[in-house]
Symmetry: C2
Subunit: 403 residues, 2 copies
């Protein structure tokens, strides 16, 4: 028989959100009447807004009539949507042809790994969104998992801890081909300042690395002094790719829509535009996001859609404020929840899984153990503010009682 | 700067559908009043049916209300859709858990290459859908392109020609890890018989290879003696993966929905289920097809949806019949167009690109040059029957005049 791809064998345990689901299920089997509130996975709960839903209904209607029906769209996305993202999200800092519409940041992360190939050496923040590392393992960029450190060989991990205020010391990444950076950060909720992003861009320029900056949560930044895009930094277009998403700000987690920016100025050492190879990958192993989802994305960037998006975000950020308050009141150190929808809670000496179990069993609240995002996440829990208000208020009450 | 992924450098020219678009554009610049009819790319033109559009509108409505809103779905697809595909398309030959819903056959082909990894040795039919080869090149499974043969090193090409009635001699593939096979075939329109598929399954079993069978056009088979799925062959579940799609039978080319079947019985030499690794890939670098598209897919498999699907297919197959008749009347050898929506026309000694140019310039018809699908496609044109009836009738008139 055919040999198994050895890279897949390196992935020891299941994607850890599945592990959480399993533990929750086991708890519910023993406690069938428990009313569990999820502050775990960052899954949206607010419905689609009227304007966006209307645009998608219209899109379906258009597809139902011969004269307005369209089949395949460009794999890179509707030109109108690419240009609108460039204009509305990036205020013209990038052009429409540099924006590639996708079915989300996660699939685009996978395709980016295909772009870089198995010889790329990557650096990631620790803790980080698990998909950067897992996709690198699948593509063969890494060595084996070290059972002790729970880290893979040939990946550079950049610890983000209270000591460095969750912005990493960059030096260890000087040999990295690709540095993944996420701001607002998932899971820590930390938002990089303009100076920090400038440090990152300068570092990548000096060491000739490519930055992949994940800004899936940038719309949650309310502090106007904080940058929402890496392209606010001079020279970033020569070194940085940006991945982003409609999932959280407009509730498209199930509808699927995101984008990736690859600037024309970003080149390999032989002068080839990275954008050119990305275009080839997009046209070869992707076939575009759903045209209905794209109609929704267009509406979201209208003045009306923007206003509705603002309301959705305010709702979730009020949730974050409520959770943040109760945790701080109880003496916990909390990062995030101000300009990011995640709260990163230092659990006072408990391990992450112990803290997870405590809250599951005593408060019937599911959270995400910080250790699942990397060794530097040990001792933390990630709390999501994407719940419904009533549940968040109830969760806050329970936390006040249990902690 | 970072080194370019050498695998991407191997891809010499652009995906050839782009080349066709370029030539058409150049012709239109010189002949701005030409009314070009496309028999080229297999893009659907019939609108969504009432039942399917209604289901998608309902899905949008549900997403617009708090009580019925849902966020992330399972990356593998809605359980109800997986089970319905197993029941309706496969009559229970496979189970729902063996069906993975995707955003289409093309992206799933790319993910399958990620599954197999860069050490896999693949065999393809020649001619074949270019994505199998191009994605293999991108993943590093191949050597360089041979400028003379236009074939990549380390890929086994299985010629499909009039001599073997478009079913390949399999022997050269005995060392292949993965054999790609497409029936009804894109581009040749040939449909494998039950005996031929049995030969294929037996061959894969004997040589311990995995079959990847692309059945994106299986719903176009009207001859009940022809198999619509590889799983109609005894023992196929031990050796075969099936990729399929909603794109063509229900006009979802832009809506994006497909699926892949990985049977539980399919294992690597170490006993690991292939399905297990596929599940990991799906959950790590994919995030599910749009929930609105999936609602459409569910409706398409209802009795009402099935009836509407039948009408859509009959319409396209009547187009195919019209084109087939005029070509045969003019003395051309034609394969396909009976149980497949493509016609594969032997152009009587012309090269494919010469024939393409002839029809573009004299009949203002775009087609797809057979040579773009591989060396054995030289001298052929692929004609698509996915146009609107009026255009197909007009195209038939022009062909009658010009050929």
């Amino acid at each position: 028989m055919v040999k198994r791809n050895p890279n897949l064998a390196k992935l020891q345990s299941s994607y850890f959100f599945l592990e959480i689901a399993k533990r929750k299920k086991e708890f519910l089997l023993k406690n069938p009447n428990a009313k569990i509130i999820s502050l775990g996975i960052g899954d949206t709960t607010l419905p689609l807004t009227t304007h966006i839903a209307g645009a998608m209904t219209d899109a379906v209607k258009k597809l139902s009539h011969t004269k307005t029906y369209t089949g395949y769209g460009d794999e890179q996305g509707l030109t109108s949507l690419r240009e609108k993202i460039a204009k509305v999200i990036y205020c013209g800092m990038v052009s429409g042809e540099e924006v590639f519409v996708s079915d989300g940041a996660k699939p685009d992360t996978g395709r980016l790994q295909v772009l870089f190939g198995s010889d790329a050496k990557i650096a990631v923040q620790d803790p980080s969104y698990p998909v950067y590392v897992d996709s690198a393992v699948i593509l063969g960029q890494t060595g084996l998992l070290d059972g002790k450190t729970r880290q893979f060989g040939n990946i550079i991990y950049l610890p983000c801890t209270p000591k460095n205020k969750f912005f990493p010391q960059l030096d260890p990444a000087k040999d990295a081909d690709v540095i993944y950076f996420c701001s607002p950060n998932n899971p820590t909720g930390a938002v990089a300042t303009k100076n920090q992003l400038k440090e990152l861009v300068d570092f990548a320029k000096k060491n000739k690395s490519i930055l992949v900056v994940d800004t899936a949560y940038s719309q949650f930044i309310s502090d106007r002094s904080l940058p929402r895009s890496i392209y606010e930094i001079d020279g970033a277009k020569e070194v940085a790719i940006e991945i982003s998403s409609f999932s959280k700000p407009i509730g498209f987690t199930g509808v699927r829509l995101g984008w990736t920016v690859i600037p024309n100025d970003l080149c390999y050492d032989d002068g080839t535009q990275v954008r050119k190879d990305w275009n080839r990958i997009t046209t070869t192993i992707f076939n575009g996001a759903s045209n209905i989802s794209q109609a929704g994305g267009l509406a979201a960037l209208d003045p009306k859609g923007r206003k509705e998006m603002g309301k959705t975000i305010s709702y979730y950020m009020e949730n974050a404020r409520i959770l943040r308050l109760v945790l701080q009141k109880k003496g916990y150190e909390v990062v995030g929840g101000d300009n990011a929808p995640y709260l990163w809670v230092h659990m006072k000496g408990m391990t992450s899984w112990d803290a997870f179990t405590l809250l599951l069993e005593k408060a019937h609240i599911t959270t995400t153990p910080g250790s699942g995002f990397g060794p530097s996440g040990e001792g933390f829990l990630r709390l999501s503010s994407f719940g419904q208000r009533a549940h968040v208020l109830e969760a806050a009450k329970r936390l006040e009682k249990v902690l």
